[in-house]
Amino acid sequence: MSSKRLGFFLLLAPLVLWLGLLIILPHIDMAIVSLRTRVAPREYAPSLDNYAAFVTEPLYLFTFLRTAVMSILVTVITLIIAFPISYYIAKIAKGRSQAALFLMCLVPFWVSELVRTFGWIILLRETGVISGFLQWLGLADQPVEMLYNDAAMMLGLVYTSMLFMVVPLTTTLESLDDAVIEAGYDLGGTGPSVLREIVIPHAMPGIVSGCIVVFMLSLGNYLTPTMLGGKDSLWFTQLIYSQFIVRFNWELGAAFGFCLLFASSVIVWATLRLTGQTLERTMGEGS
């Protein structure tokens, strides 16, 4: 065997071990577990009962759809908030202030999600800072509870996701030559038309990769919905957690896991198809 081939296999081995043992086999096994049902202690039979339960039990399906819809909503809101910020950093701020602003966007995300969520709890709860501030202003005459509802949860999710939108957007917008924007105006374009025909098409890879990551992180988030959401804001990951850890019903939990994986894959795939991007370009070599 030539040394070139040896080198190739030495480099291939860790990749294959990693993906095989930690990604592919576990998922195959999870699929197998999700496709069986317990008939007696330590005795299982293949069946589709778990998926049937998912489809027929309204709570499961409803929670699933709710989680997906709200994750899409979080993604859209994050995009709308982040775009002007990224544009400002990439195209309007110059030199030192540009670097400083970009760094300021990163800073909160060097800190654990738990800490960020904790911050919002202190701000929003009944005895919290905002409630106190409103009372002090005289806008409220008693403590206001702003925690444990969908709005608080969305706020937390958007906050937590912001970095993953700002960074790819800023990177792609920075690569847009100022002269191209100027050419757009020079040929008679106005703010909205330049944005629509030049800036957004150019930023598309960044928009797509930002949206995919934000959507994924929201869909798979457990911490923020648990801490900031109310009793009614059930998140699909909480169902998975309770089947696995509380009820010890791994079969159903595994089926839920697959449903989550399926939903995220479908939406990621659809987004890529609709925008004509590929995973490699948005996540890897292109960015």
Binding site: V180, E182, D186, L187, G188, G189, M204
Partner: protein, 368 residues
């Protein structure tokens, strides 16, 4: 004030500061309708600043810009009747050729069918029919150039601005595009304002050239005038090649003068308002120097000397001889005539060189 009706573009006392830096200082010029006007200058001289002020991407600190007699100050770039070909062309990479060319028409709300018709028409005129569906990235350098011009010309602007568009091309293509640009300008019959640091481009294509230095116009005129009758030392040095000597005026007789260069060479020249003791710069173009194998024909000239060939720089029609004056040690650059007489000229050969008074351009030394 009566606006000059034959001028498409007119700048008056145009000035622009960036903080303490004065990029453009009181520039005045007007460009005749349908002409090819170039602004020529070294990088950093302020020519890009002028262009961006005309296009509307920079507001002048003071002064006025008039297009077809109407001031465009305060008019945003998308409302100005000028279009610009950017330095790196700035073709929209997310659109194909037809979409690029149709972009401005779409902004004007032109009907779809009309856009298709006019796009096709302009592609015909730039000799690239049927490439509308190509991607920008699939075009060659020269094609991109022409598409960038077509994208502007389809809007029928009063003035087309070109910001060193040939800079990114290789030498061969650049030579070809020079000729083609001039032909396109004639074809569209539109006023072109062209900025460049390459004198070859400016001299070949332009009806008029403004030579710019340190924020000011040094001289505006036809290529011929700039070359043969430069008004300042900068123009003499920047436009065309020249032997350049610094020296001091030793004797004056009317407009005739004798100058001794720093290296000790005595040069007979002519000039206005020269006084003995003045520091001056002398420019002599290599092709203005006659070269002879014997002294007979050279003797009649006011400047003549016997020199030794120190190097031959062969470059086809632009071949040169470097000769050394044995007395002062000065090296002089002389054009090599393309005649059989000199085909055997070798290093170390003794030759005679000479030039006339009027060929030694004399200017007060501005660097002091």
């Amino acid at each position: 004030m009566t606006a000059d009706l034959t001028s498409d573009l007119e700048c008056r006392a145009l000035t622009r500061h960036f903080g303490d830096v004065v990029a453009v200082q009181g520039v005045d010029f007007s460009v005749a309708a349908g002409s090819f006007f170039s602004i020529l200058g070294p990088s950093g001289c302020g020519k890009t600043t002028i262009m961006r002020m005309i296009a509307g991407f920079l507001e002048p600190t003071s002064g006025d810009i008039r297009i077809k007699g109407r001031s465009v100050l305060g008019v945003p770039p998308n409302k100005r009747p000028v279009n610009m070909v950017f330095q790196h062309l700035a073709l929209f990479p997310m659109m194909n050729v037809a979409e690029n060319i149709g972009y401005g028409l779409r902004r004007q709300g032109v009907a779809k069918a009309e856009i298709i018709r006019r796009t096709g028409e302009v592609l015909e005129r730039i000799n690239l029919p049927g490439i509308g569906t190509r991607k920008v990235s699939e075009l060659s350098g020269g094609q991109r150039q022409r598409v960038a011009i077509a994208r502007c010309m389809v809007l029928q602007p009063d003035v087309l601005l070109l910001d060193e568009p040939l800079g990114a091309l290789d030498l061969k293509l650049r030579e070809k595009m020079k000729v083609e640009l001039k032909a396109l300008q004639a074809e569209f019959d539109t006023t072109f304002v062209y900025i460049t640091h390459d004198q070859g481009e400016a001299l070949v294509m332009s009806d008029a050239v403004a030579v710019m230095n340190a924020g000011r116009f040094e001289q505006v005129g036809a290529a011929r005038d700039l070359y043969y009758r430069p008004e300042t030392a900068f123009v003499a040095g920047f436009v065309g090649e020249a032997n350049r000597w610094r020296g001091r005026v030793e004797a004056v007789d009317g407009t005739l003068a004798e100058v001794r260069s720093e290296s000790g060479l005595l040069i007979r020249t002519q000039g206005q308002n020269l006084r003995p003791g003045d520091r001056v710069e002398i420019f002599v173009r290599p092709e203005a120097i006659a070269i002879n194998l014997d002294a007979k024909t050279a003797a009649a000239s006011p400047n003549q000397m016997a020199v030794q060939v120190s190097a031959l720089l062969f470059n086809g029609a632009n071949s040169r001889v470097l000769v050394r004056d044995p007395q002062s040690g000065a090296e002089i650059d002389v054009a090599l005539p393309q005649s059989a007489e000199f085909s055997n000229l070798a290093k170390g050969a003794q030759v005679h060189i000479s030039w006339g008074r009027e060929q030694a351009l004399c200017f007060a030394d501005a660097t002091l």
